[in-house]
């Protein structure tokens, strides 16, 4: 008593094969897209590697690339199977690879979970910079602030606590400089000013970046109520938002790969229909396709028996060759079934 039997005429088999072929090629292309998405995410993370706190976040693009490649490979095999399915001489050679194919569904499920885990993890970005004034770091931070429209770690006041003007450009004979340096314990030149990259272009007023806390230093300026002059967002927040958005958008992409794997069911029907037709020695005639040859319970019983036999082989003679590959593959996936008697 087979599971979910459907009758297939030659015409229906042909249509099924064609439809599945098209679907598997679309899945190959989609796998390519996912792979490219993974590569893009990885390059974006590598570009900002200087301000990243850890490398665990690279797990997500690595998974994406793996899933993309795996999808391309397996769906290419599926399309070849579909192409050969209506040719009785070429179809039998796909029997073993098909069973292995059905087993690949196993790895997709934990992968999707892993992706979700990666997304939910708290991502720590933006390593606290220590001593600005170094060439590369200044340019990196400036470009970062301009591109992400942010200023400082949490807000622009972070710049007040750090010496961001190199000593090379300070006139130590000037009284003002000497006062500032002596005014704090670490002898740093601190000022209530920010770099130009904090300036907000949408401000109607030309950017004010020095003497920010001194209302009298600028005409018609109130430090408390001025909002548009500088970027108000901190770079940690900006980067986090950006990468979370990027990774959230890849989530549905990966899930859709798994959805397309639903062509597995169609492929199973095609395989059983063609094999039944070959058994009846009438490749052009009607045949039945099914998901499982026997009912669910009986299939599981069979699997258990096969597994035990394999284990017994293992116990008695560990050097004996493992059972046939069909037995090895039929483990947890309920869509796996023992091969038809025609094999």
């Amino acid at each position: 008593m087979a599971l979910l039997k459907i009758k297939f005429t030659q015409q229906r088999r042909v249509h099924l094969a064609q439809g599945l072929w098209l679907l598997s090629w679309m899945a190959v292309m989609w796998g390519g897209v996912i792979f490219c998405l993974g590569v893009y995410l990885k390059t974006e993370l590598l570009r900002r590697a200087e301000v990243m706190d850890n490398t665990e976040i690279h797990v997500v693009p690595n998974i994406l690339m793996m899933v993309g490649l795996a999808s391309i490979g397996t769906n290419w095999v599926a399309s070849r199977v579909c192409q050969d399915s209506l040719d009785p001489t070429r179809f039998p050679r796909w029997k073993v690879p098909l069973l292995a194919w059905f087993a690949q569904l196993l790895y997709l499920c934990p992968l999707s979970l892993y992706c979700q885990v990666g997304l939910r993890n708290g991502i720590r970005f933006y390593k606290d910079t220590d001593v600005p004034g170094r060439c590369f770091q200044k340019e990196t931070i400036d470009r970062l602030q301009m591109e992400f429209r942010c200023c400082g770690n949490n807000n622009f006041k972070d710049w007040f606590e750090v010496q961001w003007v190199s000593n090379r450009y300070l006139d130590f004979t000037s009284k003002d400089v000497k006062d500032r340096i002596r005014s704090n314990v670490d002898n740093r030149y601190l000022l209530d000013g920010v770099p130009f990259s904090c300036c907000n272009p949408t401000s109607p007023r030309p950017c004010l970046r020095y003497h920010l806390t001194d209302n009298n230093a600028h005409f018609n300026y109130d430090y408390q109520s001025e909002e548009l002059n500088l970027y108000s967002r901190g770079c940690r927040q900006a980067l986090t938002d950006y990468y979370m958005e990027l990774m959230n958008s890849t989530g549905p992409g990966v899930l859709s790969v798994i959805l397309i794997q639903s062509l597995t069911m169609g492929l199973r029907y095609l395989q059983t229909a063609v094999e039944t037709a070959m058994v009846l020695e009438d490749p052009e005639g009607d045949s039945e396709g099914y998901l499982l040859e026997k009912g669910v319970k009986e299939t599981i019983e069979d699997l258990k028996i096969n597994a035990l036999t394999m284990l017994k082989f293992g116990q008695v003679d560990p050097n004996a060759a493992e059972g046939s590959s069909e037995v090895a593959d039929a483990e947890k996936d309920e869509k796996d079934a023992p091969p038809s008697p025609a094999s």
Partner: protein, 341 residues
């Protein structure tokens, strides 16, 4: 005596049909590419239209969109004809449409050439519009309270940051313009009054530039104000200081961006050039027509580009046009005979 005859057997005909089919479908893809390039170009022009005084001509992108759509249509039709060409029944229904189709291809080729030419020539127009537009942008930089110009400051700042440029020709353009609005100037301050009185038009001019001119690659925090005054900053010489602000002018930066875009689009247009397709289709159709025994697909046939020589064909064309003219004179509304190809 036919022009450039070639002998065809079944094998050659099949190969020609397949090759042509492939070329036609590739051309469809290039047509789609042209269409999307046209849209991209249109969007870019719109984005920068403030820099060009909202005066820019959209002729080239509109033409590109049209050409892209036409290319798709024409090449898809050609592909279908090739696909059906080896089946005599299907091919018979396409036969009457072939001559007008080849004429259409001719006209389309001319349009393609025109588009490519425009892509290369309109760059001058873009240059001129940019020069004018940028001058005005700098003038209106401070007018953030004037309706219609309130985003000029933001646009110009973002443009200077994105294209790494400063001013129209160079940063000194900012010295000749008041780029700080009077709203933010303390008119009671002596310094301000001096500056305003120091020039004829009463503008507050200074040797400073906006922050968007700053170069992040400079090792030194950006110096925007008192640029020509060496003693205003420690260890600063404005003549040898190179990295502090962008030295390139925005007109040059924007122009090189647009000109490279237009050159590559023009090259792409030339790729769609259909003469190879036309020649191939002509050979295929003539080869199919001259089959001595239509029932036997294996027979040989001749294909050619022109039925008679080049001179004779032109002579025929001219004669036909003359008769056409004469017919119109004697009897109005006479049917125009098909021009021999």
């Amino acid at each position: 005596m036919p022009f450039m005859p070639v002998k065809f057997n079944l094998q050659k005909r099949v190969k020609l049909a397949q090759g042509l089919w492939m070329i036609y479908w590739l051309s469809v893809i290039v047509g789609i590419l042209l269409f999307s390039l046209g849209i991209f170009f249109k969007i870019e022009l719109r984005k920068r239209s403030e820099m060009m005084d909202n005066n820019e001509s959209h002729l080239v992108p509109n033409l590109l969109i049209l050409v892209g759509l036409l290319a798709c249509g024409v090449n898809a039709f050609g592909g279908k004809v090739c696909h059906d060409s080896l089946d005599p029944i299907k091919f018979a229904k396409w036969k009457p449409m072939l001559k007008p189709f080849l004429l259409l291809c001719c006209g389309f080729n001319a349009l393609l050439l025109l588009t490519a030419l425009l892509c290369f020539l309109m760059q001058f127009a873009v240059y001129l519009t940019l020069a004018e537009g940028l001058k005005n942008s700098i003038k209106f930089y401070k007018d953030t309270d004037t309706p219609g110009r309130c985003f000029m400051k933001r646009t110009l700042d973002l443009t200077q940051i994105e294209f790494r440029c400063c001013g129209n020709n160079n940063f000194r353009d900012w010295f000749e313009v008041q780029w700080i609005s009077n709203r933010y100037l303390d008119m009671s301050n002596d310094l301000v009054k001096d500056r305003v009185l120091s020039n004829v038009e009463g503008k507050y001019l200074m040797d400073s530039v906006p922050f968007s001119c700053c170069n992040p690659g400079s090792p030194r925090p950006c110096i925007q104000h008192h640029l020509t005054n060496n003693s205003a900053h420690y260890d600063y010489d404005h003549r040898i200081e190179e990295l502090n602000i962008w030295t390139r002018g925005c007109r040059e930066a924007l122009f090189s961006y647009f000109s490279s875009m237009m050159t590559s689009i023009g090259t792409c247009v030339l790729l769609v050039f259909l003469s190879v397709d036309m020649a191939g289709l002509k050979y295929l159709t003539t080869a199919l027509e001259t089959m001595e025994d239509p029932e036997n697909p294996e027979c040989e046939s001749d294909g050619w580009l022109l039925e008679k020589g080049v001179k004779e064909t032109f002579g025929d064309l001219l004669a036909k046009l003359k008769t056409l003219g004469k017919t119109n004179q004697v009897v109005e509304g006479g049917d125009a005979p098909e021009a021999a190809n």
